[in-house]
Each structure stands twice: as C-alpha cells, then as structure tokens.
Point group: C2
Chain length 412, copies 2
C-alpha cells in the first residue's frame, strides 16, 4: 500500500469547516490493514435527510444492497465506512455482516438500523468480520467531533490504494443564510463512469428534503463523478451518499423547482466536480491529469460516449504517459466508439495546438510545440467531430507502468 504520493496531488488539503449536526470519528479496527485507521463513523442529528447514487454493477456489494433499501426512508442518523474489505461477493454472510454492522451502529447512535448507512471498500470476496466493530463504533460515537482534524482523519480512514486524502468544501449564500457543503471521496482503481463512482460522502447543513436532494444529487453526479474514468473498470461498491442536516438558518427546500434549489445545486455540482477530479488525479500510477473534450457530436450523449472511448483507450493513455502527442490513436478511439463520426470532418487538438483538421494532419502543426505541451502535467485533448452541437468533457489520467505494478500485486 505504500505507493508514493501522486505527483498530481494538491499541494495542500483544505481545512473543512464544521457542519452543524455532523460529528465524525475514526478508529483502527484491524479489518485488514495494520497500523492505520480503517473505520469511519459519522453521527448525524435527527432530521437529517439522505440521498444516494450507487454502482450499476449487476454484482453489487452487500452494503450497496443495504443502502439502496434504506434510501426509501429518506432519513439518516449514522454512516459507517470501512476500508480493507469491500464485503462484495460474500453471499449470505455478506448480508449478515451488514446487518450486524448496522445493529452495532444503531446502538451507538441511538437510532433504528434502517437509519444507518454502510459502505465498504477493499478486497472483494473475503468475508467481513463485523464483530470487529463491536465496541469500536460506540467508542467512536462518544468522541466524534466536527472539527477540521476529524474531517481530515475521515478522508484518510476510507483510503485504499489512494495516495492522498480527498476533501472539498463549498459555501453558498441562500436568502442571506450561509450554507456549507463538505465532501470526502476515495478512488483510486476500478474507476469507471456511468454510475456514482467509488466512495464519496457529502454533508451539508442545508435543509433539503430527501426527494429534492436525490434529484439534485443524481443530476450533479451525471456531470461530475460520471465523467471520470481511471481504468474503465466498474466497482461492485460505488457509492455516493449526501446527507443534509437542515441546521442552516433557512426555510426547508421541499420542492425541486424552489428557486433556492438552483443555488444549492450549483455549489453541490462544483464540489462533486472537484472531488471527481481529485479521484482522477489519484488514479493508480497517474502522472498526468487528462481532460478529454468532445465537441461537434450529434448530441451530448454521443459526445460523452466518444469522450469515454478516448479516455479509456489504453493506447491513448500510454501515449500520454510517454508524452507523445499521438493523435492517430485519438482518431482510432473516435472511430471505435460506434458513434456517428465522419473521418474527413474530424479535428483534434492537444491544448491549443490543432494537430489534425478535416481528416488529415494539420499543415500548420508543430511537432516541437506539441512535444513541449505533452511534457506538462495537465493535458487537454479536444476532438471536434464537426457534425452537430453535442459536447462532453471527461477526466482521466495516463496509463503508466506503475498502474500495472500496483494492480499486479494488490492482493498478495
């Protein structure tokens, strides 16, 4: 697990402010790792609404099943996250482990098990020994706090192959009241879009009713976490849950078309984009952060599929790792996407440098300038299909030898 910190890691991590009604504590329960925290307990005040987005995998983990079932209730009092074991593909035992976890947490929080949300990340197929939470969660509940150190510890406790903790915070003024949104996330492999990706938890003091929170969260996910890919692989455990304690000095937002919802939604999306980009920047073995932008597609959905075809192409990703402006591979990836494309209208740029235009190399293209651009840490690849107004933007990282190294010996 001791991989060097990604060179794309932010130089500093933000101090997250307190959110009234949210208290966090972490512990080392010895789930799998030695000498590090591997459990996060979050206590939430009564009245907290909840929304979630989960993996579309046909083989979801037991915690995902549990959370999906409990979302209908719309309220949350506790969140328990463990790293080291995904409790996925663990059969009947897996479901029993979640039930036991929720029972222990419910006792600690003084709530019903149906108000406990659970997420697990780590190895698939190993039974999770939930008896290890006995005593631990109660002890966590006793000392949980909402200060910056607690948020930082929370982001660290949920890491697996992540090389840095992922935290973000946003504030927004609504009707004169200050609303805060804090979020944490973990990656860093088995990251594929088309669902709420990896684990991320968002907390706000905004008084947003559960159905509204769900609608806003689903929409914002489509433009944030669902636009990031590391390796095109889809976890069995992808989970994004938002909790709203309602403690801000603001009348409840109970309708989607409440004009105040838009301001909150914008801040939420901004926060999720920041977290999603942090996940791509901590992609296993990542050395470069890549933004793929597709324009001129027949529609936005088509643009997104083309963008992912580029962002998931091993040949494009290794070329970026090799600092090679290999636009031929971008052409290949456009061609294989199965979406409408016309070779002879296609333009491709790296950064501001147009390397290909109307189906052939741009005569003005300078190999030297492009090579210099490719040495940077932030790479923008733009493909203009020249067909319509469809646009999309997705984020990924390069594919390096370190990715193979990390994943060739993750389990052993």
């Amino acid at each position: 697990m001791a991989h060097p910190v990604s060179p794309l890691a932010p130089k500093t991590h933000p101090d997250l402010p307190e959110i009234a009604g949210v208290r966090l504590a972490t512990a080392a329960a010895g789930i799998r790792y030695r000498g590090r925290t591997d459990v996060l307990y979050v206590g939430l005040d009564a009245g907290t609404s909840v929304a979630g987005v989960f993996t579309r995998s046909k083989c979801p983990s037991a915690p995902v099943d549990w959370c999906r079932a409990n979302l209908a209730g719309g309220s949350a009092r506790a969140l328990v996250v463990n790293s080291g074991n995904a409790n996925a593909f663990t059969g009947r035992k897996g479901a029993d482990a979640v039930t036991l976890t929720a029972d222990i947490a419910a006792r600690a929080a003084g709530c019903r098990p149906a108000e406990v949300f659970v997420a697990s990340t780590g190895v698939i197929g190993e039974p999770l020994d939930a008896t290890k939470f006995e005593g631990v969660l109660e002890e966590c509940a006793g000392r949980a706090t909402g200060d910056a150190a607690a948020w930082r510890a929370a982001a660290e406790a949920i890491m697996t192959t992540d090389t840095f903790p992922k935290l973000a915070t946003r504030t927004v003024e609504i009707d004169g009241a200050r609303v805060t949104i804090n979020g944490i996330a973990k990656g860093a492999g088995m990251i594929q879009p088309d669902m709420a990706t990896m684990l991320s938890f968002v907390f706000t003091d905004a008084p947003v009713a559960a159905p509204v929170l769900q609608a806003l969260l689903s929409a914002a996910t489509e433009r944030s976490f669902n636009c990031v890919t590391v390796d095109g692989d889809t976890s069995t455990s992808d989970t994004l849950i938002a909790f709203a304690t309602g403690k801000a000095a603001l009348a409840p937002i109970a309708q989607k078309d409440d004009p105040r919802a838009a301001a909150f939604a914008a801040a939420l999306e901004d926060l999720l984009v920041a977290l999603a980009q942090l996940v791509a920047k901590d992609g296993e073995g990542a050395r470069k952060f890549v933004t793929v932008r597709v324009r001129g597609a027949v529609d936005d959905a088509s643009a997104k599929r083309v963008a992912f075809s580029i962002a998931n192409s091993p040949l494009v990703k290794t070329a970026v790792a090799g600092e090679d402006a290999n636009w031929g591979r971008v052409v290949m990836a456009v061609g294989k996407a199965g979406e409408p494309a016309d070779r002879d209208r296609l333009s491709i740029s790296f950064g501001d440098i147009r390397v290909a235009h109307e189906g052939a190399r741009d005569p003005a293209y300078s190999e030297e300038a492009t090579s210099a651009y490719m040495k940077g840490e932030d790479i923008l690849i733009t493909a203009d299909l020249g067909l319509g107004a469809g646009e999309a933007r997705v984020w990924t990282c390069d594919l390096t030898k370190a990715y193979v190294e990390i994943n060739g010996d993750y389990r052993s």
Copy 2:
C-alpha cells in the same frame, strides 16, 4: 521495435506448402523502417476469387475504403501490403496514395487496378509516399515464388510491433482432392474484436466462388479473430482477406449449401483460430495467454459480451500478470458488462479450480493450488453465470509493464 520475442511464441514456425496460383515476394522500400523488409507483393493467377472482412471503425484507413469498394468485383490478381505506415487519416492524399499503389501493382501483375487489394499497417496520420513502390513491385512480380521461404518472408514483412511471424496451414480432403489453406497475420496492439482484427491474409487453392467465400469467411471470423482482444482498441485498418485460386482438382463450389463447403469451412475456421491465438500470444508485452470462457449466459451473444468485459478489464489483466487468482476482479467485470447476471448464481474457476460458487468464495478453494496454477503460461478463466445455455470463448493476454513501455514510446 527491437522488443524481445514473446515468451508465448511457438517454438517453431510451420513451413507453408505451395498453393498453385500464388506467388509471393518481399522488399525493403524504406517506407519507415531501415534494414528490414516492409513490402509484400502477392501475385495471383487469373480466376482467383476474393472475400474480405474489415474494421468497423468509423474512421477507416484509405486502403480499407479501397478494398471494400473492390470486393464487389469478386476477383483478385494482386495483393500489396506495407508495414510502417497505416495510410490512415491521411485525407485526400491517402486515397491518392492507394490509387497510385494499385496502378503500380496492376502494371506489375498485368491486371486492372480494381483487381489489386492493398493493406497498410503502422503509424496513423503520416502521408504514405507510394512512389516508393515504383519499380519495387514490378521487380517483386518478376521474382515471386510460392515456396516456404517466400511465405515466411511474407509473414515477416508485414510485422510492426509483432515479435514473431504468424503463419498457419491446413489441408483438407474434399471429394478425394487435397485442398490447402495458408494464412499469415500480424498483430499486435490496437487489437479489439468486433470486426476482422489486424491484418491477415488467407490463400487457398479451393475453387470457391466469391459469394460463398465471403459467407464462409464472415462466419469463421465471428468465431476466430472476433474472439481475440489485446487491449480493447480497434484499429482503423483491420483487414482480413481470403483469396481462392481454384487450382485444386475439384469442381467449383458455387453454392453456400454445397455439402463440400462445410468441410472447407471447418478447415478455414481452424486456421483462423490458430492465427487469432497467435495474435493474442504476441499481444504487446504479453507474458501469459488467457482464454476466457463464459457459460450459462442467457444467450451466446450475451456470453460473448461478458467474456470481452472480462478479457478487456485492465484489473483482470494486471492480476493475471501478477499471477494473482483475483476472482473478485472477474466478478467486477461480469457485473459491469451490462448483461443479465445474478451475483448469487455466479461461479468462477481458474483452470479446473473452482474459486467461487453461488455468489461467494468456494469453501473448498485452495489458495496454494490456485497460485501454482497462475504461474503457468496458459490461463483459463471460466465464469458460469448459471442463467441459461449461452456460451462464448475469447482469447487475450495479460497486461504487463512492457505493454506500457512499448506503447509509451512507439512513435518517438
């Protein structure tokens, strides 16, 4: 280009027999490489029928456009293949280069340009200077032969990052007449199924009419080349062409339902499977040959999609590279395929060792035995979905650091 020969390369390469009506010669035209052959010329006797299967890329190369257009004629007199430059995404210049190549070859072969088939492999987006074929093809035509050395040289001339030449031959007795089929192929990256993959050329003396040859070739491709993947990337240039000179002592096979067609088809498929497996065994950086078998899917098409989801997963492929029987990643890949699957009916085996059964780890599973199995060169992964009778089998290789190395500096 000087990568070490794949450890999965066959110990010996077969000597291909002569096929009446087929003569081959190679030359060093200096397309891109120095000090190696990069052009293959094949002369075909009058009366040769032809069939082909090409990339489904929306951005096909100029030679693919040319061959598609000429297939309708049903007859072939010459084939020209160059390595080092794919003549893809080269705009109007690319089409002109193909026309010039065909003109030069037609003069050399004494035929119409429409009877010339052309394929190019190598870098995308660089203009191909077809004037380099001037004189070369005529000289090739003058000295072309059908002996084993010429076949071997042909397989070598079309290589790019391939580390060994790919040759196969089959003979079949039909109505007392001996029929021969020879084939050559090249890989080794940008290999994805769902089309005729990479370049492969098949020659037979069987008297098979072009429409029948096309039907048999398309069907056999579905069960051979379209079952192989190296990196999930789809070339702009994938081309498989079959030529039948009709010189065998056999009455023409002019109908698909001619019972003699079945015997020929079986030998053809067997040959294509052998070539497809050689391509996987020379996947860039490959250290292990992987067969993914899916059973119990709702139908064969669904099984194939699940099999490719497993075979294309970077996490599964790096686990194989790391000799780790990481069946959790196989579960993940089944789950992300988007096909019907039921976590709690799923069984997974490595070789003969069942590691997971009915949605959880198999209690009888031995980590030691599985680890020993994973050290082998030939890895079989079986996923039984437990839903229906659908089956599929695809071939791939592991994902190693060498893949990243090779593709990180291919162009520079």
